[in-house]
Symmetry: C2
Subunit: 220 residues, 2 copies
DNA sequence: CGGATTATTTTGATTAGTCAAAATAACTGT
DNA sequence: ACAGTTATTTTGACTAATCAAAATAATCCG
């Protein structure tokens, strides 16, 4: 059985590699997992030995089919658990990430299937992140962000990447949830400011970094 | 934070010591945790250093107040999770023990409180085991068992200790659940046999060991 | 009492995961 | 092209948890 650390490495590589296809450099992986680079290298070699990823020395790692399958299963657990915590236990979406980070390693496939059924087989978690299917299909549509989309157009928020509790609390208070409609009034890359306008005509300023973590689609 | 291993040691000591009061010998502890005795000794010394238990060399261990508090919290998680799995997710009571064994270490106090509320603050888990209160009170009434009670009297099953899936499946099929009413027709300690009679007059034979894990009270 | 049995502790190794810091390779820009 | 910077790997050490097997203490009985 994969240990918790192994599951975390695989999941993180999946998230850093646009669905497991791209090569992830060791530095990025180590930083994301908050370990020193040498630790990531050591683990990469071990996981390569297990056939869960390919390690191209001095370049990075890429998941094998088996590694990807495992990683998707962990991600599915994470996102379904988050959905469960919000929908069933009525927790705040800012808190659920940390909880799911532990629960994803303790929930069996059996329990997960029942949670999935209880929730009515959701396809998106509370942040709008797609939930991988039981058999490893992951909807990874590429969306524009508030930092990159055209200004002036009517938009709908589809997803809020960035899981920090602080940011999510701020987003909640500011009405920036999946489903919210708005548009970008103005964007100034020099000052790093993005000005949003809500449907009620109120405005809100955001830094580009924050704006980049909010994915949007043109309003239908 | 206590590691998973530490939580398991504390919980096991609690269960082996009638609520944390009695001294548990190392052999019993090691056997229950399926580790070699030396391992249990090593851990006992470490936990004594942490102030979670007292280690009386060559005698055994006893929980301190702090150790007991921690152990009760783990046990509360275990039993509430089991209840949740049966009540909310409709799992079979034979499966839930193994699941709870992992989940008890991943569920936060926050999530637990919400599960507790969702279930309506149950006092017993699906096996009839008492659920410790949030502040560490544990109802530990002493019951007779089918191996020790008087024969002939009308009884009600209150609790099924013994968590193995095999046994629980058998109990389920035989109608031996908490709440079931029956009596002991006959008990032969030489042959090790206990003969039960259900309310519909059907009978069932059980070994004394199995009978000892079914707790009963006189029918009201 | 004292030898045999049984329980417990000690000692020495092992594994997984980690860090610190030295060594090495690759890339960058003039 | 080469010196400097940056990224990666290697090496050596540490911690938590475990096992195997030797050493030691306690208990039981004839």
């Amino acid at each position: 059985m994969a240990t918790i650390a192994v599951e975390n490495y695989l999941k993180r590589i999946l998230l850093l590699s646009e669905g497991g296809e791209e090569v992830v450099p060791m530095g990025a992986l180590a930083a994301a997992l908050e370990v020193v680079p040498g630790t990531a290298t050591a683990m990469a070699k071990a996981l390569a030995g297990e056939g869960l990823l390919e390690h191209q020395p001095r370049i990075g790692v890429r998941l094998t089919a088996r590694g990807r399958r495992l990683a998707l299963n962990v991600l599915r657990k994470h996102r379904l658990v988050e959905t469960f915590l919000v929908e069933t236990l009525k927790m705040d979406w800012a808190e659920v990430h940390a909880e799911a980070e532990r629960l994803e390693h303790a929930v069996s496939d059996e329990v997960l299937d029942r949670i999935d059924a209880l929730l009515g087989h959701p396809r998106l978690d509370p942040h709008g992140d797609p939930i991988p299917s039981r058999h490893g299909r992951l909807d990874s549509q590429v969306y524009a962000t508030l930092a990159t989309c055209a200004t002036g157009r009517r938009l709908r928020i589809v997803r809020v990447t960035q899981q920090s509790a602080d940011f999510l609390r701020f987003a909640e208070e500011s009405g920036l949830r999946p489903g919210t409609e708005l548009r970008v009034d103005e964007r100034n890359l020099t000052s790093g400011l993005v000005i949003l306008r809500r449907n009620d005509d109120s405005t809100l300023a955001l830094g580009v970094a924050a704006a980049g973590s909010i994915l949007v689609e043109p309003r239908a």
